[in-house]
Symmetry: C2
Subunit: 469 residues, 2 copies
């Protein structure tokens, strides 16, 4: 970091904190002071400390408290929790907070939120709780939220906000400006004015920048953007995030089955979805439940992890059954027991490499019908070449180590077979899961390593018992 | 998908394609037609097919061609490649395309690009090629690009565009609107007017929406947004993406060491960086080079993957050395060879689970000094409980399978030891790497599985030779 000149305004404290070592996090001292204030049950101090903080940072503070501290915190600060803070808190923890909050605080918080945030808040609630929150909204907002909830989970309909700024297609810039100045319901953030025909079909949009730069007499039609595209209200949220990223959209009008405008999705929501989908992919590839968070309790963590460990135990036992078939061979040549994990481990790693590239390519829609056979062929060739390379290396190692040229040949051949199979399994298994409608990130890893363990042990020990005994 | 009503405009074809099965991808038939046109060397047909497509989709088409087809494609369509298409193509392939393009086409393409895209294009080029492209720019753009290149790679300075819309802090809405109408250099997309003091320090910003909705006489000062925060030109691009995501920013002014405004970063760039960083994390966790792409050739793929397979071979051999120590024991109790991979595999999986959660928490800055010991403690407890649970299951399995209660006890104890160590390794290794300034995603996996293999084999075989022999 470079030296800062003195900053002549009241943001000095915040700015200088921002420029320190980990400049985008609240300072550790501040977090300690917050902890101390909670312990001392000093509500005034807590208020003073949290007052300058961004809602997202306050949400992080709340997430990082342990359950007992969190209850104490709500006792001291609950009255200050607003819609913005609530929208920022992780879902699992938010549900706890909501139960602790006084009903009237919750009602106030919800009234401040955008319709898409309210939907996000209540979509997983039970009917009575949901009703309670809906009843806090005024009629118009409640209708918008209920409409949104009528669309499938993870659809564009759940992501969108219903407040859209529109203008008839024949308007001029001047008419639009006059209209905007006289409206007081405008959304917090909007980036386009959507042009609609008389039946409320969106037919184009104009960026606010162009609107500002144009003469009052210019027809909106002349300022339309090329990037315009609509999203179906039933589109999957992952696909929505994909088109925002692919086409660099800032906002996209959402249309119903009759192509009528029903809402708008903005890039910040698309960015959140993209972030969540990535997170899910990473966690699923590692065999961890996709709701895992660093703030989970021990019990929650066990619940997220035990299922995949159990699956792994079963597949590991299956691989061991293969070894058991060759017990006699191992007893005669113990070197096999020493070397066999190497063959399995190399296969597992090579398979995971291919698998990961395939899962990501499927997620980013870059592995499609048009290139799938080219990619499969490439992976097979790569697998074979990797196998040959490591067969030579490992053959030499085994030869020197155990002084047996047949053993060296056996491990070399087993290596080629296993790495070639690993590559094929790494690409074909995720493709098959995708074809079957499953998430390729979810179960591929286990399938692939089961294949490489079984094939690795079988090829190596089978060959050995044929050649060496 | 629901039924669509007829769409009465010229976008019918594109829209109906969008609503088909995989509605956000170009239709497979179209891709086949493009392939056919390339093969027939039919430039006119190729032009007709590509004309309605978005630059990002044309870039995808180019990426998915094999090298020979790509050369043919450039021969037919090279003259149409513009700045937008170039910015969308993957870096490795873009470099090939640039070499094939006629110099004047390249110069035209570069002149159309925003300064941040030009920087992205040329930052990895050698000096002579870089000079050639710079010389195609007009003096102002060239200066902006050179200024940006003077900042470190992966810094905010490289991400930002230098075109910023500013207004003196004392202006009214009316003055600002008149100013904007008289400027013809405005950026393609902008979302805020940045308020600056006479020394060009940014002191706030106003969204275009508020500007449009306000009366002409309103001072800009009254419309300032709370969300305002600046980014240092030296900030790491990953940190920039983090603050956009954390604070829901749409654009952020970039300041130099003297806090003077030098550019602006917009959310679409932050979204790209977030996407790339995730991709990098996933690939690194799988031991694949972070530049891997589905379009790589066999040689490129081998180059990305062999290094980590080689590292894995070394660690697998280390684990085998542990087994070799106990060769005599295995010869006497072959069941050990059958069961030992299960202990190692369970440890590897449990360690990878913990590791992945830790790496993600570090990347999202949710694992910090204030909660690190709580998390380490939780992981240790989870590891112990997982170990106990699977010790019981595996003990029972071993007992029935090999009819030996001592063997069951040995595998049970080894399981507890290995899963507890796996959990500690899974959290402590990424923390140590982060502390040492390395990317925890990069090497953690190998370290963790080495630990779990070595500990697994040692605990199981060591105990067995003490108890069973």
């Amino acid at each position: 970091m470079t030296e800062q000149s003195p900053i002549p305004d009241d943001q000095t404290a915040e700015k200088s904190a921002e420029r320190e070592e980990d400049e985008y996090l609240p300072r550790p001292e501040l977090l300690q002071q917050i902890d101390a204030a909670i312990e001392a049950e000093d509500a005034a101090e807590l208020n003073t400390l949290l007052e300058p903080m961004h809602a997202a940072d306050i949400a992080d503070v709340i997430e990082n408290l342990d359950p007992a501290e969190r209850r104490a915190f709500i006792g001291l600060y609950g009255g200050e929790i607003d819609g913005e803070i609530l929208s920022e808190i992780d879902e699992a923890i938010r549900d706890q907070i909501i139960e602790m909050l006084p009903r009237e605080v919750l009602a106030d918080a919800v009234r401040e939120m955008d319709s898409d945030d309210v939907v996000d808040l209540i979509e997983d609630m039970d009917e009575p709780e949901r009703e309670e929150i809906l009843s806090a909204l005024d009629a118009g907002d409640r209708a918008a939220v209920q409409q949104s909830l009528a669309y499938p989970e993870y659809s564009a309909g759940r992501m969108m906000q219903s407040e859209v700024v529109t203008a008839p297609e024949h308007w001029t810039v001047g008419e639009t400006l006059d209209f905007l100045r006289n409206e007081d319901w405008l959304p917090e953030q909007f980036y386009h004015v959507v042009l609609v025909d008389p039946r409320r079909h969106p037919i184009g949009y104009v960026t606010l920048g162009r609107l500002l730069a144009a003469k009052r007499s210019t027809p909106l039609k002349e300022l339309e953007e090329d990037s315009f595209r609509t999203v179906s209200v039933y589109a999957d949220e992952g696909d929505v995030a994909y088109i925002f990223n692919q086409y660099h959209l800032i906002s996209a009008p959402v249309v119903d089955g009759d192509d009528r405008l029903v809402g708008v999705i903005t890039i910040d929501d698309a960015m959140s979805v993209l972030d969540e989908e990535h997170e899910e992919d990473i966690l699923r590839l590692a065999g961890v439940g996709e709701d895992s968070a660093i703030t989970d309790t021990v019990m929650e963590t066990l619940r997220q992890r035990i299922p995949w460990l159990a699956v792994n135990l079963v597949t590991a036992i299956v691989a061991s059954l293969v070894i058991a078939v060759f017990e006699n061979t191992i007893q005669q040549v113990v070197a096999l027991a020493v070397l066999m994990p190497i063959v399995a481990s190399m296969g597992g790693n090579a398979g995971t490499q291919t698998l990961t590239v395939a899962v990501r390519a499927l997620a980013t829609k870059s592995l499609t019908g048009s290139n799938v056979w080219r990619v499969v062929r490439r992976e097979a060739v790569v697998g074979l070449l990797n196998g040959l390379a490591f067969a030579v290396v490992m053959g030499v190692v085994a030869w020197f180590w155990f002084d047996g040229v047949s053993l060296a040949a056996v491990i070399g051949i087993a290596m080629v077979v296993n790495l070639a199979i690993a590559a094929l399994a790494g690409i074909l298994i995720p493709l098959a899961l995708e074809k079957a409608g499953a998430d390729p990130a979810l179960a591929s890893g286990t399938f692939v390593t089961t294949v490489t363990d079984v094939v690795g042990f079988f090829a190596f020990l089978g060959l050995a018992s044929a050649v060496l005994i």
